[in-house]
Symmetry: C2
Subunit: 389 residues, 2 copies
């Protein structure tokens, strides 16, 4: 029997609500992955991704798999067995980076910060001083598990000064806050489609600097993954009309990515960031009116991902269950050491709009009151409305 999904409002850590223009594009007729019209689409996607990433990097394209594969593509292409990588960890995804490094046979030197805090630049500098021969510094610009934005420009600059490569996770960052690949001087950056691009999940946009590309082309050993070997992927995504078959591209998903990037281009990057900030401010006003607080310091908050402390004596899983069942509203649970301690409320891409903010605040208010939290009905929505006025 065919599967008919319920219609949810997606305000978790991703996927976000998909713009109907994008699902419509997704369903267009499939053509071949070597069709001249498809090659033209690929060229447009590369240009649009350069715009989104703010880069002129030629090697800018979507990996045909989710963000985790984008992460792996960066590591397996740039790092070889025996290398040392400085890995900053202030949430779940830093530990995943460590896994990637060690599975290559390389050494991960960890720089650890508390979850919910930014990466400490002094610690990074110290790690560089202690490991002058490290090949790369890897860090998460926008931590999806905590909602923290770290100072990508500063960390990339430290890497450059030390002649190390920088590897940057901005899965949740792209299109929600400033991702300035060329301005930062980042060497390898990966993202996802299902966050602030509001496209369907399944692809990972990545970008490599010319310096990184040279490293990939001059490796001592083959890339351990055939599927993710950029030397081969380049033959398909490269320049000119002739493209060498590598794998069958996910045609329809790329229609959708193209449409989502077109929408971003129409809106404009700065306007997209401003919209994310604006709706975040309104959400924050509503949360605070209910006595709820965000775990991240104000100056380091990602507007698109709000990690909210769960009040004492609240059955947090019940709240999420009620939001889903009674309001068709999805918010995220905490991950790792924040499991049970925070909710993650996403305001990403198409999901970042006043209607969603109001829906989230009013339904959360109901659920909290049902658990005995003494709230004045309507006060939180008034705060939201005031923030928007």
């Amino acid at each position: 029997m065919s599967f008919h999904p319920p219609r949810r409002t997606l305000m978790g850590p991703g996927p976000s609500d998909v713009n109907p223009r994008i699902t419509e594009a997704l369903a267009r007729p499939t053509i071949g992955h070597l069709d001249p019209e498809f090659i033209r689409l690929m060229d447009e996607i590369k240009q649009l991704l350069q715009y989104a990433f703010r880069t002129e990097n030629k090697l800018t394209l979507p990996i045909s798999a989710p963000g985790s594969a984008g992460m792996e593509a960066c590591f397996v292409n740039l790092i070889e067995s025996g290398d040392t990588v400085i890995v900053c960890q202030n949430g779940v995804f830093g530990s995943r980076m460590k896994e990637n490094v060690t599975r290559i046979g390389a050494t991960a030197v960890m720089v650890e910060d508390d979850w919910g805090k930014v990466i400490d630049l002094n610690k990074v500098s110290q790690a560089i001083a202690d490991n002058p021969n490290a090949k790369a510094i890897a860090f998460v610009h926008a931590e999806t598990s905590t909602g923290v934005e770290s100072d990508a420009a500063a960390i990339c600059a430290l890497a450059q000064q030390s002649n190390m490569l920088s590897i940057v996770d901005t899965v949740t960052g792209l299109a929600g806050v400033n991702v300035d690949v060329d301005g930062w001087g980042a060497d390898a950056v990966y993202s996802g489609t299902q966050k602030c691009l509001s496209c369907v999940p399944g692809l990972s946009p990545i970008s490599f600097s010319d310096k990184a590309t040279e490293v990939i082309q001059n490796r001592a050993t083959p890339v351990q993954s055939w599927f993710l070997d950029m030397n081969l992927v380049m033959g398909y995504w490269g320049e000119g009309a002739q493209r060498a078959y590598h794998h069958t591209a996910p045609i329809n998903a790329l229609y959708a990515l193209h449409e989502s990037l077109t929408i971003l281009h129409e809106e404009g990057l700065e306007q997209s960031w401003a919209r994310h900030r604006h709706n975040h401010q309104a959400l924050k006003a509503g949360l605070e009116a209910m006595g709820l607080s965000l775990i991240v310091a104000e100056e380091a908050r990602l507007p698109q991902l709000n990690a909210v402390s769960i009040p004492d004596n609240i059955d947090e899983a019940l709240v999420r269950k009620q939001l889903l069942e009674n309001y068709d509203l999805e918010i995220g649970a905490g991950l790792g050491q924040l499991a049970g301690k925070v909710w993650r409320i996403g305001l990403m891409g198409y999901s970042s709009n006043p209607s969603n903010v109001r829906k989230c605040i009013s339904s959360l208010e109901s659920c909290l009151m049902a658990q005995g939290v003494p709230l004045t009905p309507g006060a939180a929505i008034s705060a939201v409305n005031k923030a928007y006025s």
Copy 2:
């Protein structure tokens, strides 16, 4: 500007024409990858894949990336550095298997047969005798580059008798010809969605036997790919309502896969194979009426992939270009050592129908006549009609 693809008829080596029911499912509203309704969908997909693969293997699921990643998943999970693998090669995809083996740091012992020929069982037996400590035998059941079906049952039996694992590529086989995972006693099998399932490209259904699963669970070293590590993937696709987040599943693509498997189940496996054979016979009749021949011996032909010898003095690329531009019809070029020597005409899944056969034969006839081939107009279509009558 939005991308609007032309409407092609896809009769190459895949992607095949996608049933509109499937693109419709693809465009349904995105829900979360941990939504209880999505967990239910995942369970149904596993059951439907067990039906398609004819297996009771619990570890049967779609990898969130194309067939090449499915291949890599089989190798990186089952093989470790230092292992020996017997790899049969009779086309492009055998050499890709070799690449996978060597990038793990394992040794590939090659069993080579001519392209377009089946795998020689005697050579496999000899390789087993010469390499009694090999861990696995890997081969391509349905070679997409040549259209050959090799004897999967016999090769899997040889592997079993020698206590070796079998790794089977049936990207082009599944749903087009009998893929009998449990009957063969195969240990690891992977396929693709964009061939005889007529789903959009981007996923790779795989199945591991209990024996293979034990091997994966008892490895001496970690799987070199974090993204493809089945020990982790199992935590998300496994049993019960609680699923551990591993990566964000490609939600909408899985709606599409579910619909394509539902369609297959409605038609029935045997009926699907019979339909593929039937349309192949008609295509063959039309090709032969034009003096064209298939490169594969009759008893080893895959009905869904027809490799046609290109006649002397024909500009084969011009023919493909004319078919695409004048008829919106895609057929495939030759790959590797068959480049320039064959066309590959696919009759896969939804593309395997009388209307496509007639369109292909009549437009190919026109293109050949335009290059001076002396044909009697309409004779080929008459042969097709006779085959259908």
